[in-house]
């Protein structure tokens, strides 16, 4: 099994080679994100190093003040103590100033990385074909772009700062200790052994817990969101009690994992304190004997104790960093997988412009198959002259939508070519393609914003009166006017209180406004009531007069406005002719039509 792209993403175990492959890919991504920020990275690193050095000077200055300042002052010499005080103040100011530079600068870096990554993922998911979206599911794509990016944001915002500052701080504390009192540094060196063991224990345990925690919280969120978005069905089918049990179990799972994580910290943090306090006691013991022997000043002893104690301070933060790091790195692995996916419907390398399209669509030896043994549309030729209105008829799964999606270039043919005015769709400039060919689907999705905004999506620069004209043309004007704020009514999430039929009307108006040379309607009127459909059809008769149209409809009423009917079965076009010819004949369409007419009564 491959781990290319998003494959194997849900697996919890990988072979060595696979995890290496995944790691390389996410590191490469990270590198490409950081490369443009090199200069700033250096500046930031410099700020944190100098700032830590300034902080490390503190205890040493206190030691100097005590050991040299007191005897000097006894001799009325103010210089050493004044120097120590001033130096302490200046090093504090310098450290503070540099830290503030560091915080701002690292925020700029992390925000630059985030916005770059966000945009890349966004653009890439938009580029990926519908086929990918359908198999990968919207839930996963959304969590890549939201919760996974959040994990990375958290690491960049907090974790990285903790790590960089923590590590440099510890290095400088240890360094200062080595300079001022090497024997004490030796004690610290010995303390590193239990510290290493404790940290390793924490790392291993938290890794396992962490994985569980991600799974538990994801499940909790899915259950929650699904309940709230499907609340009608939940209540109508009395799912509340059952949901409460399921949710209760998930909450308990999540609680259990959380408690596990907290227990880990409840051992790790006091463990750090224990090691730190022990080290301090030992440094104190050894130092005290040396002071008695006269080999060490009291001030230096105090400095050594303080350095030893401070050395352990950032360790807790580093544990926090490690947690953040784990979630961010697995998020980055998944994101890099999505970015690795090649769009199966790529933009042309050398796009051909087509300023004005006539709308002549041809299929030349086209075949469409998901895999070699799953052929959806066997090889066929089809010529749709400009301006023709074609109805596509056939039962569910006959391949009507696939054929329509080939024209809209939602898919590319596995073999052969689809052309518009003689230009292969694969070579056509995407802008021209989308201006010339528009597809309206059954799921009339509305974006948040006003009704007018949603219609304007068909042509963002359209003036308001053209939006109204489009709405009037499809018969949507009346109901829009009756909404609380007319065209300015906010269609809240998922279309809010706009009914399915009204959503379809709005998306029709959108298509009307776009004014394409080729219009594809895939079950675009299924939820309309008959008067609305009638209005739409009247609008369509006018709209379709001078453009190419492909109409898929279960309701054969649409056929009445078609110049030509194609009947499809098992991916093949089995009948092709004018509606009247076909109805008059004895073929499938005649039978379908008769059955449909019966259904009208």
């Amino acid at each position: 099994m491959s781990v290319y792209g998003v494959q194997g993403e849900e697996r919890t175990r990988y072979t060595k080679a696979e995890s290496k492959q995944i790691r390389t890919r996410s590191l490469r991504l990270l590198g490409s994100l950081l490369r443009p920020l090199k200069a700033r990275l250096w500046l930031t690193a410099l700020a944190v190093v100098v700032s830590s050095a300034a902080q490390a000077a503190g205890p040493a200055l206190i030691a100097y003040g005590i050991d040299s300042g007191i005897p000097a002052l006894l001799a009325q010499d103010w210089f050493p103590v004044a120097f120590a005080g001033l130096a302490y103040l200046l090093s504090g100011l310098a450290g503070a100033f540099l830290i503030s530079i560091y915080i701002r600068s690292s925020a700029r870096i992390s925000q630059a990385v985030l916005i770059d990554l966000r945009t890349r993922v966004f653009l890439h998911t938009q580029k990926l074909s519908l086929e990918f979206h359908e198999s990968y599911t919207s839930g996963r794509i959304i969590s890549r772009q939201t919760s996974d990016l959040d994990a990375i944001r958290e690491l960049l915002d907090e974790g990285l700062t903790l790590l960089v500052r923590g590590v440099t701080y510890m290095v400088f504390m240890a360094g200062a200790l080595i300079i001022f009192d090497p024997p004490s540094a030796l004690v610290l060196l010995v303390a590193l052994v239990p510290l290493g063991i404790l940290t390793r224990w924490f790392q291993v345990r938290s890794q396992a817990l962490f994985r569980r925690s991600r799974v538990a919280s994801a499940k909790l969120i899915v259950q929650f969101v699904e309940t709230m978005t499907g609340i009608r069905a939940v209540q109508a089918f009395r799912k509340e009690r059952r949901n409460e049990r399921v949710f209760g179990d998930l909450v308990e799972d999540y609680r259990d994992v959380n408690a596990g994580v907290l227990r880990l910290f409840a051992v790790f943090n006091p463990g750090l304190a224990l090691i730190g306090n022990t080290a301090v006691a030992v440094v104190l013991l050894l130092g005290a004997f040396r002071v008695v022997d006269g080999a060490l000043g009291v001030g230096v002893l105090l400095a050594a104790v303080m350095y030893t104690k401070r050395f352990f301070d950032p360790m807790e933060d580093m544990a926090m960093f490690y947690n953040g790091y784990q979630s961010a790195s697995s998020a980055l692995e998944k994101i890099s997988g999505v970015l690795e996916e090649e769009p199966s419907v790529p933009d042309p390398v050398q796009p051909v412009d087509l300023w004005t399209a006539d709308g002549h669509v041809r299929f030349d030896g086209v075949e469409f198959a998901y895999t070699a043994d799953r052929v959806i549309l066997p090889r066929f030729d089809l010529d749709l002259p400009a301006g023709q209105t074609v109805a596509l008829v056939g039962s569910t799964g006959a391949g009507k939508s696939t054929l329509a999606k080939l024209i809209a270039r939602f898919y590319d043919p596995s073999d052969g070519a689809v052309t518009l005015d003689g230009v292969d769709l694969r070579d056509l400039h995407p802008k021209d393609l989308r201006r010339a060919i528009v597809m309206v689907t059954q799921e009339a999705y509305l974006f948040s914003g006003t009704v007018a905004d949603n219609i304007a999506l068909g042509r963002p620069d359209a003036p308001f009166d053209e939006i109204v004209r489009a709405a009037k043309a499809v018969g949507a004007h009346e109901f829009i006017e009756s909404l609380p704020n007319g065209y300015d009514t906010d269609v809240n999430k998922r279309g809010g209180r706009v009914s399915a039929g009204q959503r379809q009307l709005i998306s029709f108006a959108r298509a009307f406004l776009a004014n394409p040379a080729v219009l594809i309607l895939d079950e675009a009127t299924s939820s309309l009531d008959i008067p609305s459909e009638r209005l739409v059809q009247e609008g369509l008769t006018k709209l379709l007069a001078d453009r190419t149209a492909v109409i898929i409809a279960h309701r054969l009423s649409t056929v009445s406005i078609a110049d030509r009917v194609l009947v499809m079965e098992h991916g093949r076009i089995v009948e092709d002719g004018t509606p009247d010819d076909l109805i008059g004949g004895t073929g499938r369409f005649a039978a379908l039509h008769a059955a449909w007419r019966d259904s009208l009564v």
């Binding site: 003040g65 005590i66 300042g69 007191i70 120590a84 005080g85 302490y88 504090g92 450290g95 830290i99 503030s100 530079i101 915080i103 701002r104 925020a107 945009t119 966004f122 979206h133 359908e134 198999s135 599911t137 772009q145 919280s217 969120i221 309940t227 978005t229 009608r232 939940v234 009395r238 799912k239 308990e252 408690a259 907290l262 006091p270 304190a273 006691a281 104190l284 013991l285 008695v292 105090l302 303080m306 039962s395 809209a408 989308r434 059954q442 799921e443 974006f447 109901f479 609380p484 209180r497 399915a500 039929g501 009531d529 008067p531 009638r534 054969l556 059955a595 007419r597 259904s599 009564v601």
Partner: protein, 625 residues
């Protein structure tokens, strides 16, 4: 404000419940640990002024061992403090989370219309997490640190009043800066949360609306929205970093100034013999121990404010009155005959502007037991709303809906919804197997014993057959395939058939179907109808219909017009008698045929006799006259 905050947080008391002693014990442990940290410098002083000054090496051991012992004790208390609150803290969080979820499921659909699920989610996850952290750490540390500061201040001043005073006075600005900072910072945090919510919405829409974006080539447009929101978020985050950077300057500069001053004064005092070297050492060690509690007070106060906000957000929901609740003394209808009646029903949506009348403005309609009634009306006339009133997804704003003569508000919702099952226009499937989705309305069939399982299987197969959802068997894992948001994506028609199967499988006394066949092709629709007729023969049903073919399932048709039922009758009666009904239900095709019929010279392309039904004749007469 302070009192308000205390009172606001006090509302958490019932959820904390028996965990309170644990929190208090944790506080005690924490306080002891901190006091030990204050004792250690005193021992240091003893060492410096005792053995180190005297050169008495033998006295070093016991005192250092004391430091070591105190250090161990501190670490142990530190662990105790944490361990004590793990169970109670997480349990409080879990209890609140479950309570919130239960409350949200109980609240009516009208509440959910107003609240986007993202808003609810942030309350259920991050707000409750914040409250737990505050209870376990913020609250505990706030109390403990204040005590430590008081004790520490007393110790410092008792060691040397001048030094102590310098240190404390110098630290005061930190409290102020920290408090002010957190106020601004949490403002920015909330702003950035809102903005990342907006960004998430842009992402969600770009994914859910991918077909539209691709069809119109509006990827750029969507990217524009997305980029604008991402940029807004970025500038907020950078502003946050600026605030953060400023507070760090305070946090580092104030102690530096205080320590530098103290250092000079301490050395001067020591040189004058007013202070021993050991006391100087002890002073700096104590000051270091008190420094963190002082730094943290500002943050901890602000943390309390954040916890208060989160608590408010939690109680926003918990305090929401449920206007569609269960009655105090519910009535029960053991075996409903299935008579569903709408009596002078009025309904308007809560946010409907005053200039509009009631959406349902006096609906009267009676469905006899076993009868199938089609509900016909224009888009937006209130048909779907009417179906929602029967199961109390909304409550009427006037009049009543009755089941067997009993007001639906007198039954428990649980019982009512057992009697009445629904299929919605936009079919919601849950992330569960096909089996679970279809058997949703039959919780009693979830058992594991063979009898129940066989029955469940039978009901499932029957429902799938009736809804013509046989495709389910061909899914990768058959009827055990997970569908819904997290599973296989199904087409609109497939989802609709599963939703229909679900309503049928519930075997209710009353079926309410909202345009259940709209996404089906003609052939499938015909097969579904044939099967559905058997079910409808014995079940009362209200079916929202847009098509004559759906109407054909019904015994009678009710016409909804201007908020009232204006006509009830058979399809042919209404076709004959009601102009509005003809307007709503006759298609272009028919009109054209009518025109053709009115003009006998126009040759009819398909004169096969199939159209010579009496109904059509009636229509023709009507048009001709």
């Amino acid at each position: 404000m302070r009192l308000g905050t205390v009172r606001a947080l006090w509302r958490l008391r019932p959820y904390v419940g028996r965990a309170l002693p644990a929190f208090i014990a944790s506080m005690v442990a924490s306080l002891s640990a901190m006091l030990i940290a204050l004792v250690i410098p005193q021992v240091l002083e003893q060492i410096v002024d005792g053995p180190l000054a005297d050169g008495d090496a033998s006295a070093i051991w016991p005192l250092t061992l004391l430091v070591f012992g105190l250090g161990v004790l501190e670490a142990v208390l530190y662990a105790v403090r944490r361990i004590l609150v793990i169970g109670p803290g997480t349990r409080v969080e879990a209890r609140m989370r479950n309570a919130l979820y239960a409350k949200l499921q109980d609240l009516p659909v009208s509440f959910h219309d107003r609240w986007p699920s993202g808003q609810l989610l942030s309350r259920a996850v991050s707000d409750l997490g914040l409250i737990r952290r505050w209870l376990s750490f913020g609250f505990v540390l706030l109390v403990v640190n204040v005590i430590v500061i008081v004790v520490g201040a007393a110790v410092l001043i008792s060691m040397n009043w001048l030094l102590g005073l310098i240190f404390l006075v110098c630290s005061l600005p930190l409290w102020w800066a920290g408090y002010r900072f957190e106020g601004r910072y949490s403002e920015m945090t909330r702003l950035s949360q809102d903005q990342s919510g907006d960004l998430a919405t842009a992402v969600e829409e770009s994914v859910h609306g991918i077909r539209v974006l691709k069809a119109f080539g509006r990827g750029k447009h969507a990217l524009g929205t997305f980029r604008a929101r991402a940029e807004r978020l970025r500038s907020t985050e950078i502003e946050k970093a600026r605030l953060d950077a400023n507070i760090w300057v305070w946090i580092m500069v104030v102690p530096a100034v205080a320590t530098a001053l103290c250092l000079v004064v301490a050395v001067w005092l020591a040189a004058n013999g007013q202070l021993s070297v050991g006391q100087v050492v002890a002073f700096f060690a104590t000051a270091a121990a008190v420094a963190w509690p002082i730094e943290s007070v500002g943050f901890l106060l602000a943390f309390a404010l954040d916890a208060r906000t989160a608590t408010d957000r939690f109680f926003d929901i918990m305090d929401e009155p449920n206007r569609v609740g269960d009655p105090e003394r519910p009535v029960s209808v053991e075996r409903p005959r299935g008579e569903l009646a709408f009596n002078d029903v009025h309904f308007r949506y809560q946010d409907s502007p005053d200039r509009f009348g009631d959406l349902l403005d006096g609906v009267d309609l009676v469905l006899e037991p076993g009868e199938t009634m089609a509900l016909v009306g224009l888009t937006g006339s209130g048909k779907t709303t009417m179906t929602a009133l029967a199961t109390r997804l909304y409550d009427v704003t006037g009049g009543s809906v009755t089941l067997d003569g009993v007001d639906v508000r007198a039954l428990t919702r649980e019982e009512l919804r057992r009697h009445i099952a629904m299929a919605f226009e936009d079919a919601t499937l849950f992330s569960a197997s096909v089996r679970e989705n279809v058997l949703l309305g039959r919780p009693e069939l979830a058992g594991d014993d063979p009898g129940t399982r066989a029955e469940a299987q039978r009901v499932l197969e029957e429902a799938l057959r009736i809804a013509q959802a046989g495709f389910a068997y061909d899914l990768p894992d058959g009827v055990d395939t997970t569908v819904g948001e997290e599973g296989m994506s199904l087409s609109g028609g497939q989802r609709q058939r599963l939703a229909l199967a679900r309503a049928v499988a519930a075997a209710p006394a009353v079926l309410v179907l909202d345009d259940p066949l709209s996404a089906l092709d003609v052939a499938t629709e015909e097969r579904v109808e044939a099967e559905l007729r058997q079910v409808l023969a014995t079940t009362t049903a209200l079916i929202v219909a847009h098509r004559p073919s759906t109407v054909a399932l019904a015994d009678r048709v009710a016409l909804l017009e201007d908020g009232r039922i204006t006509r009830v009758g058979t399809h042919s009666e209404l076709m004959r008698e009601s102009e509005h009904y003809r307007f709503v239900l006759s298609s272009l095709e028919e009109e054209r045929r009518d025109r053709e019929a009115a003009d006998p010279h126009e040759p009819r392309p398909h004169d096969d006799g199939a159209s010579a039904e009496p109904v059509l004749d009636g229509t023709q007469e009507e048009v001709a006259s």
